[in-house]
Amino acid sequence: MTEIKKTYKNYVDGKYVRSESGKTYTIDLKSESYELPLTSKKDLRDAVTSSKKGFDSWKGLSQYNKTQIIYRLSEMLEGNRDSYVDLLLEHGLTKSTANKDIDNAINTLVWYAGLADKWEQLTGNLNPVDGEFFNISHQEPLGIVFTLNSDEVSIDKLVRSFLPALSTGCSVINLSEKNAVLSLKLAEDVNNSDIPAGTLNLLSGDFSKVYDDVSRHVEINAFASYKKLNKEILKTINENASTSVKRIFHLPSEDGLSSILPFIETKTVWHPKGR
């Protein structure tokens, strides 16, 4: 029987889609080559439109619900771990490294699942202001975040490039380049995990083709790169971002509480006390 090869597509708005441009790029793995969508400017705009909707849906869920959904994603990975290990082996990892990586990724998912309903308690507080006032600082998700995954062959690195923003309630557009097969494979589990359509869009392609639009797009509230960018690209990004005071994070923290700090806004509310 002829083996059927899987076609990987971008994951946007809860659907698997090809690039509207029809363009692809090739990722060569050990035994097979894959043609992946080369995300275009139009694809990016579609992803942003979907992310706006995804942000509202995600925001509408309780933190408790978000926790369960991210935990559900870890269950999906656990259930499919063999297929992830196989794919990592295809990328050239050793069996032990591959096993360790999927273990790490699952643990990372579980950690952030548990953070989703706690980070507000860790980052907000009452402020002891002078005078008869109730004053509280609490946090809100920044909005639509575009993140760039590193080129490391790792599911753990991949999930760490969207979980900090996602677990705080942002919607995320995540782009992977050289290891995008892993990301688009993960999209299948994302799709089965009850994450609302548009909340997490996973794209493949070449960042150098879209960074100008990513940094210019006024509806993307923040950009975080988990991959070291060259100076020329960083310069253009900062220049473009300045037109709408977009938040730019180059190599932000990938673990612990500090990993989520870029993606939250502090809102402080005052009210007098009295009789």
């Binding site: 005078g131 900062n238 709408s244 005071v245 923290s253 502090t266 809102k267 005052w270």
Partner: protein, 479 residues
């Protein structure tokens, strides 16, 4: 309405001594500037020249940054608890010389003495006290030890709260172990120069605090200097954008505290007299030279006429005049340039079709003044409803439902602050949840405290000043 006449009660300016010419404060002492250019800082209430200030050039900024680099060697070896003591000493000294600072602030900037004396100076001292105590608790502030100071920080501050903005910037930067090069605003440098004298007096290690005076060109030299690891800026959104652009390929820290066009929402179930007081304080505090000023009054339609009537009556009691008179509510507009900007926007508002109410009062014959002003019958598309006027000008819009109030309030690129007036607690929380603003005052306005984080959403900038959150602006995550 009849107004009781007050006798003048002028705060004496004999307590301040102003030099005719100032240099920069670098390496722990005042030095002769490399730049030969000077500008004159004038009193906006008399147009009298107070002093000549150096316009720092590239060499001056270089010296200051190098001094800060040297200072970092000492400062990073200074025990956190010792760093704290320097800040406590500064706080004490500011309290002791508070009257001198307040008079100088009012002379140089034009704000009423009752504000510089009762608001600015107590807040300045409180900021140094507050952040002093954090210096030796950084490891427990955010539950992580992986955060470290940036190093040399470049700070640029505005003219509306000159010494208070210095305190907001310098106190947390030094507490977290950074060293500083500060550029005060060109129209209000005098209290910062006096602060530098205090640093010398308490024996703050050389190079820890450096001050370069000047104008936009000096600020630009500082922003573009390769020796700084972080920029902290408070000022207009347009300059903020210039700075973010100038960061370019440099991987440095940046916090921006920019403009605002805050909505002050008054629901029909608000305590109206209290709301009138809050709205007046929200826009006329410090001549409206406040980035978080409640400059857009959003009134629920059915209380519009009653509220405007009360508001106009209350506005008419405001006393405009000599900043050093203890009875003055509204002082001088900070500069000729700012007065021209306000005048031009207000004229535009009238031409657009807005209905303008200005209080009747005599204005001094010299100096820069603007009557407290209220616009009604305004469309949201008018510039007076969209642009930051940064003066004593309030623009009124109306709404029917809470949903509409939120929509109008958020319909701006800015997101610094907002006000909500209602006696219904659930409505406050519902509204506050939906407003895109970093600071929300409910049944109050323009309240500040060192422990309370301040900063904006959207194009009002990023990063927070004040509180535990303010520490994050001066600490970076070590990777």
């Amino acid at each position: 309405m009849d107004k009781w006449e007050y006798s003048e009660s002028i705060e004496s300016d004999s307590i301040v001594s102003i030099q005719s010419k100032y240099g920069h404060f670098i390496d722990g002492k005042f030095s002769t500037p490399n730049s030969k250019k000077y500008l004159k800082t004038v009193s906006p209430s008399t147009e009298e020249v107070l002093a000549s200030i150096s316009i720092g050039n590239k060499n001056d900024v270089d010296s200051a940054v190098n001094s800060a680099k040297e200072g970092l060697k000492t400062w990073s070896k200074t025990a956190p608890s010792e760093r704290a003591k320097y800040l406590y000493k500064l706080a004490r000294l500011i309290q002791e010389r508070s009257r001198e600072f307040a008079v100088l602030e009012s002379m140089d900037g034009g704000k009423p003495i009752k504000e510089s004396r009762d608001f600015d100076l107590p807040q300045v001292a409180a900021n140094f006290f507050y952040f002093a105590g954090w210096a030796d608790k950084l490891d427990i502030s955010w539950g992580t030890k992986e955060m470290k100071p940036y190093g040399v920080v470049g700070q640029i501050i505005p003219w509306n709260f000159p010494l208070l903005m210095l305190a907001w910037k310098v106190a947390p930067a030094l507490a977290t172990g950074n060293t500083v090069v500060l550029k005060p605003a060109e129209t209000t440098p005098l209290t910062a120069l006096l602060f530098a004298e205090l640093c010398e007096e308490i024996g703050l290690p050389k190079g820890v605090f450096n001050l370069v005076t000047g104008d936009g060109t000096t600020g630009s030299e500082l922003v573009n200097h390769e020796g700084i690891s972080k920029i902290a800026f408070t000022g207009s959104t347009s300059v903020g954008k210039y700075i973010q652009n100038a960061v370019g390929e440099r991987d440095i820290g940046l916090t921006l505290e920019l403009g605002g066009k805050a909505a002050n929402i008054v629901y029909n179930d608000a305590a109206l007299d209290q709301a009138v007081e809050g709205v007046v304080n929200g826009i006329f505090f410090n001549q409206g030279h406040v980035c978080c000023a409640g400059s857009r009054l959003l009134l629920q339609e059915d209380i519009h006429d009653e509220f405007i009537n009360k508001l106009e009556k209350r506005m008419q009691t405001l006393r405009v005049g000599n900043p050093l008179d203890k009875n003055t509510d509204i002082g001088a507009i900070n500069s000729k340039e700012q007065l021209e900007k306000i005048t031009s926007l207000v004229n535009e508002g009238v031409n657009d079709g807005g209905e303008l109410f200005q209080i009747e009062c005599d204005l001094p014959s010299s100096g820069y003044w603007f009557r407290p002003s209220l616009f009604t019958n305004v469309q949201p598309s008018y510039n007076i409803a969209r642009e930051e006027i940064f003066g004593p000008v309030l623009t009124t819009l109306t709404f029917r439902t809470p949903e509409e109030a939120v929509e109008i309030a958020n319909n701006t690129e800015y997101g610094l602050s907002a006000g909500v007036w209602t006696e219904k607690g659930s409505k406050i929380l519902w509204t506050a949840d939906r407003l895109d603003a970093g600071v929300i005052w409910a049944n109050t306005f323009n309240k500040f405290d060192p422990s309370s984080p301040f900063g904006g959403y959207k194009e009002s900038g990023f990063g927070r000043e004040g509180g535990r959150h303010g520490l994050l602006s001066y600490l970076k995550v070590q990777s």
